[in-house]
Subunit: 267 residues, 2 copies
């Protein structure tokens, strides 16, 4: 009987039958701005008594839409404690590229980018469910750039993953502060990243002795991981250069998973 129970428990764990995903909005504040992030975890896999690795999710320039929240839920299903970060302010989302450019524009090249992201990281850890030695950050488009900036600021991250992110070359100061391994998932034909930007980024990674992996996915353009990229782009009046790519989405997620298996392995 004991073995039957064991077998059933094993099968339940393997198939995820017992998983229960808890999600909740989390109100916090940074620099006088009221923010609202989104916490997700599986309460059979993460608790105060049995802490799990944690991952912050940094949104596209549209703000904290359903998309980064859905990624937080997917991460929760993998057993991680995930926190989708609010960069703009509670409820501030847009589908207008001009507005999105303004919202994201306040961060590029300023310490605020890393600081606002770090405020989200603090909320993740404050959940009390996270093993602080095993924390990573992932981000999409603008959020991909944001996780680079967060790593460059010296945040205590085991790793970052940038999905079709803008690329910020690392300064020597950033290289000295950085603690994170990098996985950069790039659309091979993304027209928003110029070859010279790519070259400058790679050069800074090599010169700064970063531990990075840079993956180019054939046929993939900007926002390749977002299943709604095409309709969002159409509604926004963006023509070309933005779109979903199922193979690149699946492959980059798989690469993230094996990256996490490496960086979250207990020493």
């Amino acid at each position: 009987m004991k073995n039957v129970t064991l077998l059933l428990a094993f099968l339940a764990a393997a198939s995820g039958v017992a998983a229960k995903i808890v999600t909740k909005p989390v109100a916090y504040e940074h620099g006088g701005v009221k923010l609202e992030g989104y916490l997700a975890y599986d309460d059979t896999k993460a608790s105060a008594a049995a802490k799990a690795p944690g991952v912050v999710v940094l949104p596209e320039w549209w703000g904290l839409t359903e998309y980064p929240k859905s990624r937080a839920e997917q991460l929760a299903k993998l057993g991680y404690v995930a926190f989708a970060v609010d960069m703009y302010g509670a409820g501030v989302v847009t589908g207008d590229p001009k507005k999105a450019g303004e919202l994201a524009g306040q961060f590029y090249g300023r310490p605020l980018m890393a600081e606002r992201a770090a405020a989200g990281l603090t909320q993740l850890v404050k959940s009390g469910l996270v093993d602080e030695k095993r924390v990573a950050a992932i981000g999409y488009c603008f959020g991909g750039a944001t996780v680079q900036a967060l790593a460059y600021s010296g945040a205590p991250l085991a790793g970052i993953v940038s999905f079709h992110g803008s690329l910020i070359p690392a300064s020597a100061e950033a290289a000295a502060k950085n603690q994170a391994k990098f996985l950069v998932c790039h659309g091979a034909v993304d027209p928003f990243i110029k070859p010279e930007e790519l070259a400058a980024f790679s050069k800074s990674m090599d010169e700064g002795k970063f531990d990075y992996q840079f993956v180019s996915y054939a046929g993939a353009i900007h926002a390749f991981s977002n299943p709604k990229a095409d309709e969002i782009a159409k509604a926004a009046g963006l023509v070309g250069g933005v779109g979903y790519h199922a193979a690149a989405d699946r492959r980059s997620w798989e690469h993230m998973r094996s990256f996490f298996a490496e960086i979250f392995a207990k020493k």
Copy 2:
């Protein structure tokens, strides 16, 4: 009792306890040259009744040394039928870069490169253990270039993996013939691959609409996957640019595994 047996069977399969790797030299001939390849498989995972995916392994320019044979054995442990290909002739191996350059030099830019590799592919299939719809080719250095040439010739491959291979840009004819998905594992600071070679290769992949993934591994140089690269280079009098890189080795192997999971998935 039945459940105990089930559980034990599961544990044995999961831990690989029951695995038995069969290896054997295989004599064959191509273009008047007597060749000897190396077949490896797990006879609990591949048989005439239960065919498995097959993988040919194309050696470095040193010839069919222990290194590609050890990779064939590793592939066998993963459940694949592997065949390490002989490109030069039975027993022809060298540690002398001048000699190796001459041996490899007879193939570059000539149909013989793909033809000699295809002769190995034929031997793999002739084992009678391989599901012919699920065949891939992997190669190292010179062998990385060889698997590209093999794909360009229109060989019936689900995919190829090039590890620190020389890069051969695809012609329009190659793009029309190619059936394989590509995974290219590249040392980010490999001094033997010039930036312009890399750019020409990527351009040809994009223009030819190849389904490829190109991964750059930080800090990795030429031959990064070969644990004996340093001692081989030293013995050969090669100074700099060649060496083992444990993280890139581990990561590229893992990427190969997830690539195989994709291309060998039953439709």
